[in-house]
Symmetry: D2
Subunit: 261 residues, 4 copies
């Protein structure tokens, strides 16, 4: 379904070429100052067309809060947040109406539902993540009150790896367009993406997330362990194919014996 979470639950809606996308946030504590400029700045970080190395589509993700906020504060009732789609012009999509684009969800949606909004990705468009970003911004405002910090940055593009996060200054993440806090690696990454782009191709990468000041005992045994929930959330993002936690796949080499050799 289109909801995630138990106590703080988000329900998203919207297609890439419908009137709007949005999210209902249920369970936001009352009395939280809803900093709209922060939400906008998070949406601005996500939006495509910001640089030569990203999707060139233009989206101006201006949001509107329809409920749950009164005099700048959350009231404990559901916060509905809507982002209108501006690029809804009646473009001719007939060339993809009967074509399934490779590596897209076109075929799957058509098979599952028998009907498909063929104007772009529809519901399966990465545009859906804008609703997550808006909800995530509000989640960050809540977590900030408990001193919890969440940072994410690009740690790998193709074979180019940044140093381990413990050696990085994460406050520098926004200093370049690829959002790698290590400027030397960032320069190489940008060059590589640009080269791949000119060859009309794309290239994958890895995003590393660092959560600081997380309280002990977060998450629930047995099925809802913190890293199991994080894994599900990350794997539900379009095009994500893997998730590691802590030592991750490197853990296969961790025997002291193996290390000593």
């Amino acid at each position: 379904m289109n909801s995630y979470g138990t106590l703080f639950r988000i329900s998203t809606f919207g297609e890439s070429h419908g009137p709007a996308i949005g999210v209902i946030i249920d369970g936001c504590p009352a009395g939280l100052s809803i900093d709209e400029s922060f939400i906008q700045s998070e949406l601005n970080r996500r939006k495509p067309g910001q640089s030569k190395i990203t999707t060139q589509r233009k989206e101006d993700d201006t949001f509107k809060i329809l409920s749950g906020v009164f005099e700048g504060q959350s009231t404990g009732t559901p916060i509905a947040l809507v982002i209108e789609n501006q690029d809804q012009r009646s473009k001719d999509y007939s060339h993809i109406q009967n074509t399934f684009r490779p590596s897209h969800a076109d075929f799957t949606y058509e098979s599952k539902y028998g009907v498909r909004d063929y104007r772009g990705g529809g519901r399966s468009s990465a545009r859906e993540t804008a609703a997550r970003v808006a909800a995530g911004a509000i989640a960050k405002l809540i977590l900030k009150k408990s001193g919890i910090e969440i940072n994410a940055f690009v740690s790998q593009v193709g074979a180019l790896k940044a140093p381990p996060y413990t050696q990085l200054d994460l406050s520098k993440t926004e200093d370049n367009i690829v959002r790698c806090p290590d400027s030397a690696t960032a320069i190489k990454m940008i060059a590589l993406i640009d080269e791949v782009r000119l060859a009309r191709d794309t290239i994958g990468g890895i995003v590393t997330g660092v959560i600081k000041n997380s309280p002990v005992g977060l998450g629930e045994p047995v099925f809802d362990k913190l890293h199991a929930e994080l894994g599900k959330a990350m794997l539900s993002i379009n095009a994500v194919k893997g998730f590691e936690y802590g030592s991750g796949f490197e853990g296969v080499h961790l025997a002291r014996l193996a290390t000593q050799r």
Copy 2:
């Protein structure tokens, strides 16, 4: 929380004096013709100010579908439906800002959340039911395909009772402003409500719902029995204080022995 249902799940949002109210419907089957004029007619039936015997507030409940419908058909993705609040003028509410109106949720919300949208009922306003009616209209469209009919009518006001539903022509429900299909009883009900209204009072009543062609085995044992779910849904509507199913409270008298006397 603000969601109801498992496979067909609705999540509502909105306060009486915020920008809008609305609903996300998740789980609507794909390929359903979304008859917008039917949804509007259901919303029109709900809206206040239709006659001398109801709330005089004016609301023009025009809705807009933001997602989940493409070329008149549901696509299987969440249907977001929004109704803007037109009566958002900056009226002076200072007289109720620090007053808790009796028999309203003002005190409860303030106690629970520490903050309250004091412009009218906020989230606890009966206006929230407009979102349910819109979702219910879509549910009716789905059920109609299986031949299931749902009718509801006013069967009692004060001590005035309509005959049992089996003796009524339910198609006459909309023939009068109190929506009792028995015209003789309806005339008395309207007169009583009018009398009570002139005395600046209100009076209660009973709504009877009749579901026809329901398949055998609907509902789930043990906790989610059909009548348990119906009971919860009805009891969650503002001001509803009781629910009966089948023989209901009359069942206490059903022993043959008692009947024979």
Copy 3:
């Protein structure tokens, strides 16, 4: 499904003539003293065969805790509680194998599942409520720590009504076999049930529940209002056909005008 609740969730299982019935309680806070003799006393109150006016079936509901309790205290992990069915003898049920008993769930289960445990009521047997009683006993232990008291008693049998609960001493509920705290009414109720029983019939009644010291703001808007949840829980008990809260159906007469006449 067979689960109820969100933070304190119970999942029940078991048929009347299978090896055992039971419940998993998930969400019980850690550090609660699990008073097993209290759980047993609650189960004893429920068990049939206690007097001439109830079902004569013999059940000795001895329970066993399989998990979640260590050294007499809850640990925060799920509490599994099992009650073995002692009356599992290979009685001959062939006379009801192909017969649907009226007012039972036999036909519904057969229609829904295509297969049915025809030895008695199976899953639809009122025996399932033993699992609820055990879980309810633990819930009462939790609520007691917050000073919340829950009492229930028989307030009506057929047309015989006890006085309003505010005029009763609820501590006298267990003083008679019909569990009506008003002894004068109780005597009449017992006589009536006995008379009906001798005529090989049954008769209905009403149970009134009184919750004291409930905190303000319990329950969740909009769908999970406290009385909506209570209504669902009560209506999910076998043979319950109605639920009232507060003034209940009497509310239809509450206009001052109506009262003054």
Copy 4:
């Protein structure tokens, strides 16, 4: 919480040194032949102490079905399945009562709940997976009817990798104690594990799962994508630190450009 799934939902309970562990399976379709010998064979595959390269603990995982099965068939009601803990002897655990074992959940449980079943891992013991295996065996019986096959095997231990699964005969998985269908790699893996074991150490590995004949369109957009759910389920197993789907982390190298070089 201790439940997983929506339509087919499992709820597990039990600690390593309590009376029993078990699972309630809710949503198993009626009319399924419950092959108890298959369930037992799956439990036998899981149990420790089978060879020199696994945990030496002895557990004889004999299960008992308490409900939901009648005359060898599922009835549609919850299937409760219990495995008694045989090794409950009153061993002296005082040496770990006040000690938190590294890389175990001891500290986390104590911090979260304030109380802990210190006899072994308690709820966090890998013994909990026996309940998953039993439920998984029933899930496999359901999936088999639709022709869906699920296979899993050890594809890597330390740096030792089996060839890609498309080059393997998965029916050979059980032919050796490390459960790698490539016998040449299996021999090396067993030698490595044995070497590590003699050095009183452990070593990690990778399990590859292959699902055949999965229907198109399984899983739900947006949050409950099939691979997101699989990821959560796998990451909730003790000691799992990563999950890949399809091309997985190798995807970062997939640009044609990168490949051509």
